[in-house]
Symmetry: C2
Subunit: 229 residues, 2 copies
Amino acid sequence: MAPHSRDEAAAPGPDPDDPRLPATSWAVLGMLAFEQELSGYDIKKWADWSLKLFYWSPSFSQIYGELKRLERHGYVTSRTVMQDDVRGKRVYAITPTGREAVRTWARTAPVETPVLKHGVLLRVWLGHLTDPTRLREIVAEHRDNSERRRAEAAVDTQAAHNETAWAYPEIALKWAERYHAAERDLADQMLRDLDDLQASGRATAPMPLAAGSASAAGAGARVAGDEEG
Amino acid sequence: MAPHSRDEAAAPGPDPDDPRLPATSWAVLGMLAFEQELSGYDIKKWADWSLKLFYWSPSFSQIYGELKRLERHGYVTSRTVMQDDVRGKRVYAITPTGREAVRTWARTAPVETPVLKHGVLLRVWLGHLTDPTRLREIVAEHRDNSERRRAEAAVDTQAAHNETAWAYPEIALKWAERYHAAERDLADQMLRDLDDLQASGRATAPMPLAAGSASAAGAGARVAGDEEG
DNA sequence: CTGGAGTATTTCTATTAGAAACACACGCAG
DNA sequence: CTGCGTGTGTTTCTAATAGAAATACTCCAG
């Protein structure tokens, strides 16, 4: 087995510095840092509402799991509040230790590459597999979706603007608004590129199925060119 | 147990339609659709080189796993080629069935939301946890990284332009070039927003640790406001 | 001949996505 | 009043994914 992995169930108390928690932990702890008791359900809804515009919303399973882990670390405490006589829910609040930890993370974590997985672009990249009309439809739909998300972000930006103390979320949401506007415009430009390709007649036959496609896969794939035994 | 889950080790032959494979499977199969025998290693290198600019590059473990699954489905075949007398490698080639399957996927798969996980934005959103100078540094570093990726994409776009038959990858790479340029410009705009916030004096004290932060978490968090038992 | 870089693949663990199951409350249509 | 859908709130399960590391062998430089 590994030397001791990166255990975290060892001591009951909080860790000395910040243990290397995944980004989602910090996101959850960060939400709690806005001074408010929140249940797992609250966090999920809030994330869906606003965080998802620039940071993929975590699943229920993960949120509840993270909350338990954060509690083990002493970063949050929880209590059960009753809503009617039988039903209760567990709400979490950040501790001073947790606040310190999330501050340290925000200050010192390395600047990482944003994760982007753009299915539409993958399909454009593989454009020779689809007929041009359908491909155009796909990109057009993506453009419309981007505009929809832009509008959503604009509404949320307004909402944040009206609340004092939401200065930073407002800046992030403004960024999201511009980001999704850019996505929309990028889609439009790509639509034009696609049309130009059509007009130039080089489309739909990029990879002759038989015949001399020897140098086909070009630069990236030439690696497989010197084998045979 | 579930009715029959979505088994895929059932029949040895290829599936009737397209079994619901994850996106990564299609990405791998799509690369093989460029007519070329490729090893797992080749695919990884190629993905790192170009796909990662718009579609997060899969890990070795996943690529090798996907190749085995694709072979079980009859979408690819493999053979071992010798490079010297002892060392060999396994290269994969797409089958007609596989080509048909990836075509069907490209044509019919729903247009899905791109996955974005932007750590930098998360930290801006939580800006009140960091001192403004450090936050500015983080965003500035992100801007520089974006410009670097933009330049990378520009080089690759050129390379694709010179190869015939790379029309669609070229369009995708052109998109990537503009995308990362947009990211760079968005970071610059956000830097200005951050400076404005500083100038207006509303920074660093958005969340009074004590005192009347009753309505603090605002719109999204008001959910926890009507409890107590 | 030792060390590092590149090729090539496998194994392991932790993180993450997503669906589903469960449980209860509330309002509304039949 | 009975069932049905919707919303709250949480847990459990499976599969997908990221990332590091182990293995192993080659070639080249010092």
